[in-house]
Amino acid sequence: MILELSHFSAAFFFALFASVVFGITQRNAAMDQVKYGLYCFAMFLGGVFVAGWVMWMLRH
């Protein structure tokens, strides 16, 4: 079985799993873990969009 994700899907799942681990391991309280995980997830995906637009501008 071969899984072929789109570029965005691959980046999305990468961000999701990395954010979960960062959230749990880098904060102590449960609510802080959730907040930090969401922050990391937003930064990951935000970085994807920024990089995407930068590449688009370089191309055009």
Partner: protein
């Protein structure tokens, strides 16, 4: 004066931190071999199960995307670093080698993503192991 204000919290933290114990070593070792299991034996069941699900799923997705699994090598520095990342997954890595998975040629774009998934899953497991160790020595609740 400033030294006394800085040293008080450190002294309090040091008082709470337990010396290296057998449980700390065991939790680290088990957590490396089975992602999340270090937290489970320390009775952090929810954290352990979430870590296990995240890291194992990431590793399996990497394999399904036909990512490359690095073997021990002394060649290119990137290959060596790839191996270091891969071996962080512990038991998953040894199982993968035993089954000879992840040895195909990278034939499409997502396979390269798969390689990165496999490496990062191992690196995330290193972080999880460190977290289990900190819990075991009382540095983290």
């Amino acid at each position: 004066m400033s030294n006394s204000t800085v040293s008080k919290p450190r002294a309090a933290e040091a008082a709470q931190t337990q010396p290296l114990s057998a449980m700390a070593v065991l939790a680290s070792l088990v957590g490396w071999l089975v992602p999340g299991a270090g937290h489970l034996i320390l009775r952090r069941y929810v954290r352990g199960l979430i870590l296990m699900a995240s890291i194992v799923t990431m590793f399996v997705l990497g394999l399904l995307m036909q990512g490359h699994v690095y073997k021990p090598n002394g060649g290119d520095i990137l290959d060596i670093l790839g191996f270091v990342g891969n071996i962080g997954a512990g038991g998953l890595y040894f199982l993968t080698l035993a089954k000879d998975w992840g040895q195909g040629a990278i034939a499409h774009a997502t396979a390269d993503y798969g390689t990165k998934y496999l490496i990062v899953a191992g690196l995330l497991n290193f972080i999880a192991v460190a977290d289990a160790y900190h819990i075991a020595i009382g540095k983290k609740p």
